[in-house]
Amino acid sequence: MNKLIDLQHITKTFDSNTVLDDMNLYIRENEFLTLLGPSGCGKTTTLRIIGGFENPDSGSVIFDGQDITSLAPNKRQVNTVFQKYALFPHMDIAENIAFGLKIKNKSKSYIDDKIKYALKLVNLDGYERRMPDSLSGGQQQRIAIARAIVNEPKVLLLDEPLGALDLKLRQDMQYELIRLKNELGITFIYVTHDQEEALTMSDTIVVMNQGYIQQIGTPEDIYNEPENAFVADFIGDSNILDSIMIRDELVEILGARFACVDTGFGENTPVDVVIRPEDVELVEPENGTIEGVVTHIIFKGVHYEMEVTANGFEWLVHSTRMFAVGTKVGIHVDPFNIQIMHKPESEDEEAVGVNE
C-alpha cells in the first residue's frame, strides 16, 4: 500500500521529558487514522511534528517520498484543525475561510466560490459576514474545518476537534466528519482520547501510551484482540485477570480451567486475560465454570450492568437478563471470547512499542 506519510524513528524530548521515543508509523493515502491515548501521551506532539510546528530531536518525516522533517509549516501540503478552533478573531467567517486562498493569490471569483462551497459542506450557508465570537463552539469548529479544507490539503490533521462540544453535538459531528472525509477523499489524521469516537470513525487506530505505540489496527482488531492489558483497559470496559496458560487452548483463571483458542504461549506461563463484560455469560450455578454472587446491578437502557463476585474477583458483566443482587450464578465464557495477552516483563515494557 502507498505510504503517504512515514514517520521514521521519531524521538522528541522536552527538557529531559521524553515525549516520543523512537516512534515509527505510516499513514496510507485516503486513510482515516486516529491517534488514541490518554492525555499527555504525545498525540498532539505527533500531530505538531507532522504539521511542522515542532521539530523532532531525531528521526524523519517522509511525505509522499520526500523528506520534509525541517520544512516550514506553510510549505507543507497538510492543514490542521486546532484543538480550540483558533479562528482569526479579527476577521469575519468569509475572511477566515479565504485566508489560505488569498495567500496563494487565487482569483476573487475562485475564492468566493470556494467560500460558498465550504460553508455548504459544513452546513453553515449564509454565515459569511458573521464574526467568529458570535458563533457557538460547534459552529466555530465547523468553520475551522471549512477554513482548512478549502486549501485542498492532501492530509487534514484534526486535534481533538470535538473535545469542547457536548455529547449530542459531538455525535452529530462524528457523522459529519465521516461524510466529509468520504466526500473529499483525503487522508484524515485524527487525535482523540475518547475511545468511542476512535472506534466509530477510524479505519485505523493507533493506541499510544507514554510516547509509545501500543497497538495499531482496525477498530475491530483493537477492540476484540487487544495486544496488552493497557489497550484492553483503555478501549472499553473489560475484565483483566491474572492467569496461567496451562498449555495450548487451556487457561487457568482464578483457579478454574477455561477452554480457549490461543496457542503458542508455552506451558504454565503467566499471562493476562481479557474478557469483555458482554462476553461473560451468567448461567445456573451448576452449569458455570466458576460460581459467584451478584453484588451490584444498574439498569443501563440496552442492558444491565452487574458486578459478580466470584473466586475473589469482581467481574463486570453486561447482560440483557436481570439477576437480583444476592443471586447465586455460574460464570461461563465461550473459548473464542477469552483474549490471552503476554504479561509485560517490567514497568517499562508496559509502555513499549509493539511494531508489526
Binding site: 510546528f53 516550514a72 492543514n79 482569526f88 479579527h90 485566508f99 495567500i103 477554513r147 482548512a148
Partner: protein, 272 residues
C-alpha cells in the same frame, strides 16, 4: 452596590473632588476670565501668537517623533518578551523596570550629566579619540529624554495584547500558508491594535505636556508648550494666561483620544 462598598468608595470620591474636579474648575475659571474677573476668550486666543503657536507646534512635533520611536523600539521588545520562558522573562522585566523605581527627575538629571559637553559620554568618546556628541540643549536631547522616560508606557500595553494572542492562531496562519512576514502583518499586527492605541496615547499625552524634560535637556533655549504654561504660573504669575493655554492643550489631548478611539472602533472591532 452595597452600602459598605459605597462607603469604601468615599475616600476616592473625596480625592477626585479635591485633586481633579476642583483644580479643573479653577483652570476653567481662570482661563475664561481676565485679571479683573470679567469673562474673556483672550487667554485662549493667545495660542495664536507666534511665540505660543511655535511652542505648541514644536511640542506636537517632538511628541510625535518620540511616540514613533517608542513604538518602533517597543514592538520588537514586547514580542521578544512574549516569547521568553518564565525565568528569562522576569529577569528582563526586572532589568527594564529597575530604572522606573528611580525618581523621574533624577533619571532625567542623570541624562543631563551624561550628555553634557564635558559629561561622562563625551569623556569616554574623547578617551577613545572619537568625535564628541553635542546634543545637549538641542531637540535631539529632548527626544532622547522623552523616549527614555516614556518607553515603558509603550512596552507594557503592547506586551499585554501580544501575550494574549493565542499561539495557535499564529500557528493557524502558518498552517494556511502564510510566511512569518505575512503572519505578522495579517494576524499579529491587527490583533495588537488595541495595545498600539493605548501605547500611543500613554506616550503622546505625557510627552506633549512635559516641561521637565525640555527644561533639563533642552536648556532654556527650547520652549515647549509645557514650559510656556509653567512659566506663566511660576515666573510671570499670569494664572489667567497659563490656564487659557492649558485649556487649549487639554483640547488637543481630548481630540487625540477621541480620534484614536474612533480609529480603534473602525479599524478592528476587537478592542473594547
Amino acid at each position: 452596590m452595597s452600602n459598605g462598598k459605597k462607603l469604601l468608595a468615599c475616600p476616592y470620591v473625596i480625592w477626585s473632588a479635591v485633586f481633579i474636579i476642583i483644580p479643573l474648575c479653577m483652570v476653567f475659571y481662570y482661563g475664561l476670565t481676565d485679571k479683573s474677573g470679567a469673562f474673556t476668550m483672550a487667554n485662549i486666543a493667545a495660542i495664536a501668537t507666534a511665540e505660543h503657536a511655535k511652542a505648541l507646534w514644536l511640542s506636537i512635533l517632538l511628541s510625535l517623533i518620540s511616540t514613533v520611536i517608542c513604538f518602533l523600539l517597543a514592538y520588537p521588545l514586547a514580542m521578544i518578551l512574549c516569547n521568553l520562558n518564565v525565568n528569562q522573562h522576569s529577569f528582563i522585566v526586572l532589568v527594564f523596570i529597575l530604572p522606573m523605581w528611580m525618581n523621574f527627575l533624577l533619571r532625567t538629571l542623570a541624562w543631563q550629566t551624561l550628555l553634557e559637553k564635558t559629561g561622562v559620554i563625551n569623556n569616554i568618546l574623547g578617551f577613545l579619540h572619537l568625535p564628541t556628541l553635542n546634543i545637549i540643549n538641542t531637540p535631539y536631547a529632548i527626544i532622547l529624554g522623552m523616549v527614555y522616560n516614556f518607553l515603558p508606557f509603550m512596552v507594557l500595553p503592547l506586551y499585554n495584547v501580544l501575550v494574549k494572542i493565542d499561539k495557535n492562531v499564529i500557528n493557524a496562519a502558518r498552517d494556511l500558508g502564510a510566511n512569518s512576514i505575512q503572519t505578522f502583518f495579517k494576524v499579529i499586527l491587527p490583533l495588537s491594535v488595541p495595545g498600539i492605541i493605548s501605547g500611543i496615547t500613554m506616550v503622546f499625552v505625557p510627552a506633549l505636556t512635559t516641561f521637565v524634560i525640555s527644561t533639563l535637556l533642552g536648556g532654556s533655549k527650547i520652549l515647549l508648550i509645557g514650559n510656556v504654561i509653567e512659566q506663566e504660573f511660576t515666573q510671570t504669575g499670569n494664572w489667567n494666561l497659563g490656564s487659557g493655554l492649558s485649556i487649549v492643550l487639554m483640547l488637543f489631548i481630548i481630540i487625540n483620544m477621541v480620534a484614536t478611539a474612533i480609529f480603534d472602533k473602525e479599524g478592528t472591532g476587537t478592542a473594547l
